[in-house]
């Protein structure tokens, strides 16, 4: 079994996906959600559920409908049809009450650049019912030493940390993050990942959109890949990966005739070799079939690999072919 699938299975079985393991009420419930920009269906029948203490990854190509879904989720747009429930209420009609329990990290931070870091957090505090301490809040994201610096003087990573400090002020029950690590260096990204894990461990639900597939793999308890306004595939990482077949790949020496195995595809490769790709639901049996034939036939398999499907394969399959299942 591949490392990613093992990690996914550990998460499914080990780290509680609370919606499955506990009867806690969902933080977010979306049913058959639809929204149009003129004649274009931006969101076209989306169903999602997010539970307390869960990181939910929302993936998709540009224009897939992720940001519109988040805007509908926060009550900033009124759905054409379908229902959105945040903490059990309609976010359009109960906006301030919903936002009292919600923090948001937007694609564009939108800070008032002339304010200092501490003034920015204090402004957040003054507009929030949640209570916290400015110094503690900044310390959590490693910005305590920059409290008197103007926001315009912060680096991209520091601005994002400040964004997270404001979003997590007072410990909200849900944090919505729209592509929070875009443009961040690896160190800042690692810091953010740690913060997201800390939120989850504290019982906060996190809805995260990202273009970085490794980020979704590393953080998300469950995820959905959107395409054309729909959720094309969703579930735990293991469930999502299972939508694409595993494959055994190898190369044969020039002149060796490939075996006649069901699901085997061949193509010319470098140095006159023949590339083999055997897709199968059962990776063990497929590997055994190919290596068994090679031993019997006295053929040598170069660059032999047996791999589970990766999230990138699922993503590209969705983006290229539409709905996977």
């Amino acid at each position: 079994m591949g490392e990613r699938a093992e990690r996914a299975d550990r998460r499914r079985g080990g780290v509680p996906v609370r919606g499955r393991d506990t009867p806690a009420s969902p933080v977010v419930e979306i049913r058959d959600l639809r929204f149009r920009y003129g004649g274009h269906a931006a969101v076209d029948g989306v169903d999602l559920t997010v539970h307390p203490g869960e990181v939910f990854g929302l993936l998709g190509t540009n224009g897939a409908g992720k940001t519109t879904t988040l805007e509908l989720l926060q009550g900033f747009r009124r759905p054409a049809s379908g229902t959105v429930r945040m903490f059990g209420v309609d976010p359009v009609t109960a906006g301030p009450a919903v936002r009292r329990r919600t923090g948001a990290v937007l694609q564009q931070a939108g800070f008032l650049d002339e304010l200092t870091v501490a003034e920015t957090v204090r402004l957040t505090a003054s507009l929030s019912s949640r209570t916290d301490d400015v110094r503690d809040c900044l310390a959590r994201v490693g910005l305590a030493h920059r409290r008197d610096v103007a926001v315009s003087g912060l680096s991209g990573g520091e601005r994002r940390r400040l964004d997270i400090a404001c979003a997590t002020w007072g410990g909200p029950d849900l944090v919505i993050m729209d592509e929070p690590t875009t443009g961040l260096d690896p160190e800042s990204r690692a810091v953010l990942w740690g913060i997201v894990r800390g939120l989850r461990d504290a019982g906060t639900a996190v809805v995260l959109t990202t273009h970085h597939l490794e980020e979704a793999e590393a953080l998300a308890d469950r995820l959905a890949i959107m395409h054309g306004g729909r959720v094309a595939v969703g579930g735990t990482l293991a469930e999502v990966l299972a939508t694409r077949p595993a494959a055994v790949t190898a190369e044969l020496d020039p002149g060796v005739v490939p075996p006649d195995l069901p699901g085997l595809a061949s193509a010319p490769a470098a140095q006159g070799r023949t590339a083999l790709r055997l897709e199968a639901a059962d990776l063990t049996r497929a590997t055994h079939a190919l290596t068994g034939w090679a031993i019997d036939a006295g053929a040598r398999l170069h660059r032999l690999r047996a791999t589970e499907a990766g999230l990138d394969e699922v993503f590209h399959a969705v983006a290229g072919a539409g709905e996977v299942r």
Partner: protein, 255 residues
């Protein structure tokens, strides 16, 4: 999650921050100060020596000064906030949409009215007689401030960026300045002066003129006193600007 009970009216907590930002940003500070400076400059150049002359000056300078300081700054601030993503960010807080606009607009309104009243004090110091109807003067300037904030919000909805604001504000600025000049200059027939009163904001010029000098250039309309006509027109344009801004409002650059 630790919470305290919401006390409502959170926009009043945003307003002081917005006021601080007006002073910290050089472009908005310059915009705010240019209006009253122009009003004082007009007085020094014109040097009126009659109550009617001071009324004409108060009407013209009051309107144009408020347009320059409050209307242009309002359009700039709302456009800047939208394009920088600040409106989107504020929208994720517990503030309501109208609360965000009120929080950003209130400092402009207060600053504009305070400046205008300060300039009136300067006029008195320069030898102007006391206004005949101070209450009408304050009411006219306050209404003008509200109109300018609302018109600025409406103008922001058609401004693609901050640079574009200098073009989108021009039509109202030019039309109001020309119409107010025609109205207060004297010599124009009643019909033309009545028509000038229909230009957005221009009734302020008549109301301020009337408040300072005791009479104004706008004619009565079908037996309705000119002062009432002016107030109704000003309120009407303010409502049009406010509803127009609400209907066309965009929280994000992309809509």
């Amino acid at each position: 999650m630790r919470t305290v009970q919401s006390t409502g009216g959170r926009w009043r907590r945003l307003a002081p921050v917005e006021a601080r930002l007006l002073l910290r940003r050089r472009t908005t500070l310059f915009g705010l100060l240019s209006g009253p400076l122009m009003m004082v400059f007009f007085a020094l150049v014109a040097g009126p020596d009659t109550a009617e002359g001071w009324g004409r000056l108060a009407g013209l300078a009051g309107l144009v000064g408020m347009l320059i300081s409050v209307y242009t700054t309002s359009a700039t601030v709302f456009t800047l906030r939208r394009e920088s993503g600040a409106l989107s960010r504020l929208r994720t807080t517990e503030l309501t949409g109208p609360g965000i606009v009120a929080g950003a607009g209130a400092p402009l309104l207060v600053a504009g009215v305070a400046q205008a009243l300060l300039v009136c004090g300067v006029y008195l110091a320069l030898g102007a007689p006391l206004p005949v109807n101070p209450a009408l003067l304050v009411a006219a300037l306050a209404l003008c401030g509200v109109f300018c904030v609302a018109a600025g919000a409406l103008t922001a909805t058609v401004s693609r960026n901050v640079e574009g604001v200098q073009f989108t504000i021009a039509p109202l600025l030019l039309a109001a300045a020309v119409a107010a000049n025609v109205l207060v200059a004297g010599g124009a027939p009643d019909a033309l002066r009545g028509a000038m009163m229909l230009v957005p904001g221009v009734p302020v010029a008549d109301l301020a003129f009337r408040a300072w000098a005791g009479s104004g250039p706008a004619p009565d309309v079908a037996g309705v006193p000119a002062v009432l006509v002016g107030l109704v027109l000003l309120l009407g344009w303010t409502a049009v600007a406010a509803f127009g801004a609400a209907a066309r409002w965009r929280w994000t650059p992309r809509g």
